[in-house]
């Protein structure tokens, strides 16, 4: 897009259109989106294959470890947000009425529903993992006693036996749970038998079938499709299925035989390559696993199981006093187990993240449906909902941005029956947060001198200054630019790229305005909000809270922005 055209009159910026043309910048956006997805996923690949400069900053976690999953989910949430911003929101519903999309979008939505069930199953699976962690913790606690006495060893053995039997039970077909539980109960040395997943779904529910159902009708679009939206929708479906597939493979889940074969990725697309790389690696692990009949590919579980067996072996041959050699060996194993247990502490945030994922999917689906509804309502040529349609008059144009903002910000909740396209797109509707929640976006930039830093901040404040922006910061190294506020992330990204070519969107989080533990006290909330908020907590649960999940604390995952005198803050 030529950089000079945004000084034109507002009339040029706002045009009323009936027909949809995919503009140049939109195509650019869509391509960017595909690239971002590929980038995010390739960061998750093991380092050997990908020596990104980022790898130096964040060494990639072990494949299929809990930390890896946390990153995977983060990546997915980012992709999802961008998908919504680029493909769904602010778009005319008629876009989706055309031939491939009218099928693709509902199919995608159907997949998201299936993903929800998987999310629920995963949530339960994590419960089970937490149980295993506790058992491992018992073993660790008792084996850390000195000197290791008979009693300590026995205690550890009991806990580990329970753990191991729980792992193997879980692995046998879950729908024969009754039997398995009975078998576990027979084993004298168990600590609570967990009917792990029995109540989550009906017995016939199968994670692997669910994945299969999600991926079976996912067919690569042919080349030269009319709209540029086809590929992104297709891509998003794939990412969704892939993430679910990986989770089901790793975390205990009801019935997942033959999972390895259920995902076929298209080779012809660039963005699919990191996914294929990941899939191959996981697939190999899965094949090994299926032969051995073990549970869950989660790195921690695998290691826990191995260590567990070793320690039980040690315990079985235990005589007092322990030989020095053996003691050292055990000590080493216990140390490793301690490390695993520490890593498993991350399970709770992971579980919350899965819940967040769940709710994000629910919300996105609702929003997408709203956009589609608009379509069908228009077909009936009925005035939409109860909102008066907005008349674009000269006055409106004079008020320009202020009004456009209103129009666009409310376009989720209020269905305004006109299409306003602001051509420089700084009024494109809030991408991640539909309800105008402030978001915190970290851009990865390369701004090593004061001048370029200032330039960058100017650029971004210019774009997003039109929106509600709370702060812009650049950290000391000039590697990260953090912008907090309600604004268009895509647009901000483009502006920044003019200053620094390598700009990437690193993370997007939604800032919680009313969290007690918030990291970013939002002083800038409009004054009129303040008195209102104080009235609300009369009936605390039922007053409206923005639909995000406050208990999912987005971890400042990538880089925490340091608070130093160097950083500039614009309020």
């Amino acid at each position: 897009m030529p950089p000079t055209d945004n000084q034109g009159s507002f009339l040029n910026r706002i045009s009323i259109r009936r027909n949809q043309v995919v503009y140049e910048h939109e195509i650019e956006d869509l391509e960017q989106f595909q690239k971002h997805v590929a980038d995010r996923l390739s960061e998750l690949l093991p380092p050997s294959s990908h020596a990104d400069e980022l790898a130096a900053v964040d060494p990639p976690e072990t494949l299929l470890s809990i930390a890896w999953f946390r990153r995977l989910l983060d990546a997915f949430l980012c992709c999802e947000a961008e998908f919504k911003a680029v493909v769904i929101m602010g778009r005319d519903a008629a876009n989706f009425a055309k031939s491939p999309l009218d099928r693709l979008i509902p199919e995608h939505l159907d997949r998201t529903v299936k993903a929800l069930d998987i999310c629920n199953a995963i949530t339960h699976g994590i419960d089970l993992l937490l149980h295993w962690q506790k058992l491992a913790q018992i073993a660790v606690d008792s084996l850390q006693q000195r000197p290791i006495g008979e009693g300590h060893v026995k205690r550890a053995r009991k806990a580990l036996n329970t753990l191991l039997s729980s792992i193997t039970i879980d692995d046998k077909e879950n729908h024969h749970h009754g039997k398995a539980a009975a078998a576990a109960a027979k084993d004298h040395a168990t600590i609570g038998n967990l009917r792990s997943l029995s109540y989550c779904f009906a017995r016939s529910w199968s994670a692997s079938k669910q994945i299969q159902a999600m991926s079976s009708n996912l067919v690569a679009p042919r080349g030269g499709e009319p709209t540029g939206l086809v590929i992104p929708v297709y891509l998003m479906s794939f990412v969704l299925v892939f993430v679910m597939w990986a989770m089901v493979a790793a975390i205990p889940c009801q019935e997942r035989t033959g999972l390895g074969a259920h995902l076929q990725l298209p080779k012809q697309f660039q963005w699919a390559h990191p996914m294929i790389g990941l899939q191959e690696k996981i697939g190999e692990l899965w094949k090994k696993k299926e032969k051995k009949g073990r549970s869950g590919l989660l790195d921690e579980t695998q290691r826990l199981e191995k260590l567990g067996r070793n320690i039980v072996e040690f315990a079985d041959g235990f005589t007092f006093p322990v030989e020095a050699e053996k003691a050292a060996e055990v000590e080493e194993q216990v140390a490793e187990m301690v490390e695993i247990c520490q890593k498993m502490e991350e399970l709770v945030p992971l579980q919350l993240q899965v819940r967040e994922l769940f709710h994000r999917i629910v919300r996105s689906r609702a929003e997408a449906l709203d956009v589609l509804d608009q379509m069908s309502e228009r077909d009936r040529s009925l005035p939409i909902r109860r909102y008066p349609s907005c008349i674009v008059s000269q006055k409106c144009i004079t008020f320009s941005f202020a009004l456009c903002k209103r129009v666009f910000s409310s376009s989720y909740k209020t269905y305004i029956n006109i299409d306003i396209v602001v051509q420089n797109r700084s009024c494109r509707l809030l991408p991640t947060s539909t309800m105008g929640e402030p978001q915190k976006v970290i851009f990865q930039v390369c701004l090593h001198d004061c001048r370029s830093q200032r330039k960058a901040m100017k650029a971004i404040s210019k774009v997003i200054g039109e929106f509600w922006i709370n702060s812009i910061e650049v950290d000391v190294d000039g590697n990260n630019l953090t912008a907090v506020g309600v604004f268009d992330l895509i647009c901000g990204h483009r502006k920044l790229k003019k200053v620094c070519k390598k700009t990437k969107i690193k993370s997007v989080e939604i800032v919680k305005p009313e969290e007690p533990k918030k990291e970013e006290p939002k002083k800038e909330e409009p004054k009129k909000e303040e008195p209102k908020k104080e009235e609300e907590p009369k009936n605390p649960v039922w007053h409206y809270q923005p639909p995000y999940n406050p208990c999912y604390m987005p971890q400042p995952f990538y880089v925490a922005v340091e608070e130093t005198p160097h950083c500039c803050v614009i309020f």
Partner: protein, 613 residues
Amino acid sequence: MEADQDPSNLHLHDDTLTQQIDRFISSHDPPDHILESVQCFSLLFDEEVVQYESGTKKWTLHETSSFLVSVERTSKLLHSLSRFQSQDDYAAAINQISGIHQRAMSFMEDEFKSILDDYQTSHDRDQKNLDEAASSPSDDQPQPDDQPVDDNSKDNFLGYSDDMISNLKKLAKGLIGGGHQTECSELYFFVRRNAIEHNLKLLPFEKFSIDEMQKMQWEPIEKEVSAWTKMFKDFTTSLLPSERRLVDAVFSSSSSAISDSLFGNLARIVLFYFLTFAEGVMMTKRAAEKLFKFLDIYEALRDSIPQVEKYLSDDWLLQLRSVASLINNMLGDAIFTIFGELENSIKADTGKTPVPGGAVHPLTRYTMNYLKLACEYRDTLQQVFREHKKIIDRADSATGSDWDPSSEEVTQNVDEDHGSSFQLQLGRVMDLLDANLEAKSKLYKDPSLSLIFLMNNGRYILQKTKGTGEMRSLMGDPWVRKRSSDLRSYHTNYKRETWTKLLQCLSHEGLSVNGKVMKPVLKERFKSFNAMFDEIHRTQSTWVVSDEQLQSELRVSISAIVIPAYRSFMGRFSQVFTPGRQTEKYIKYQPEDIETCIEELFDGNAAQQGKKR
């Protein structure tokens, strides 16, 4: 027990032995002979544990304490001995004691579990007793705990007797004191979790996945929702509080963190189970008939979540609230949208076939019944609308920098002055319905019939509104007054439309010239009166006025204008005709006949009878 030489005459709780050990525990220097005492103690305790394990010694409430004292002593001893672990003979003693300690702990774990597991039988017995209303004395064993259970739910520890509770309490204390806190809480958690699952399984409530619910018909889900609402209330008001009491009772001697986290986890499971269903229902395709079930869920959540909240500790509370508020928002949104859909469905009803006989239109019936039901949920709907408005306001104010802060206050004032947005919405729906009916009335060719149609529908709307207290108060007196006056004007217009012409025939004017009656004109008048009246009778008796009161009102008012006029007309002019043939020919109706004919109007099915006559 190979070497029982020395301790054979000693008792485990022998004063000298225990004192010696306790002294060792409390002091810091190793006294002489302590290892011997430890040896002695361990052998004795080992024997006791073996007795318990093999079942020769039964676990009773009284002996528990002494056993627990020994266990406590063992763990303390273990701790004290560990100071001297570098010395080999002490290390050996540690080994020995730790082994016994572990066995004792293990035994206690088993005991704890078996007592906990015992809930089923006693709980089921409670159930049975409750079901049969204690009518059958078949359970002959004395159950001292049963009476209070039935009478006072406060004492109901989910089917655990007081003895069991105090046993559990002691065991939990012992286990936690002995460092087996994790085992103890895991055990507790799994037993209770299985118990809850067992309870859930017994419920007449099928578990569907969200995906399945998407594909299901609404009717089965509807049934599930009714079951769900009831059970959700049950679980939150009775089961969860009892769980909390139980966990508090069992872990009363240890820190509240344990019971908080245990209960939090259990509550999470229960709530997760129920909330997933709510989420699933909510995600099904929105449709008008779902409104009331959505409202049921909304109300259940609104009422029950705070009940649970009381029992949760802070971090669990936060989790629950966030989930609940999410569901609440989405439900609110769905309800709002669905209710808004009503407008669309009214607008969309543009059928071109008039209802025969001007009867109440199905749309009117549907809409009014819908609104009547909706008004039963009036408070909830008002809440939903209020909250929804907040969302929109916030979305506006969060982005619109030029948003005038005063306008919010203005709207709020408006809200108070002119009623809630729900009320406004209701008014809008009524107006739409009116407009739609107005348009539909134009479909009738006969203006009288379209008036009858309007009267019928208007009457129906008014009656429904008046019949529902909530709706009446929402619509307000002015509205009711306006509707009534509308109805009256329809009535008047109808009378004018249909009966004025007829009455013109009965006019005395133009009949007599110079005091002499013009016979041909009179004949003509009677003829046309008869024809017109026949026609009116024929058509209008097929018309429908189903509201009895309205029907009789109409008949009475028609009679009131027609019959006196006819009577006087006849009285004045009947003698003009020569009696006999002529009279018979022209005076077809006696006033009484007219009255019966009027009585036959608006019957809907009187068509044939009218013709036969």
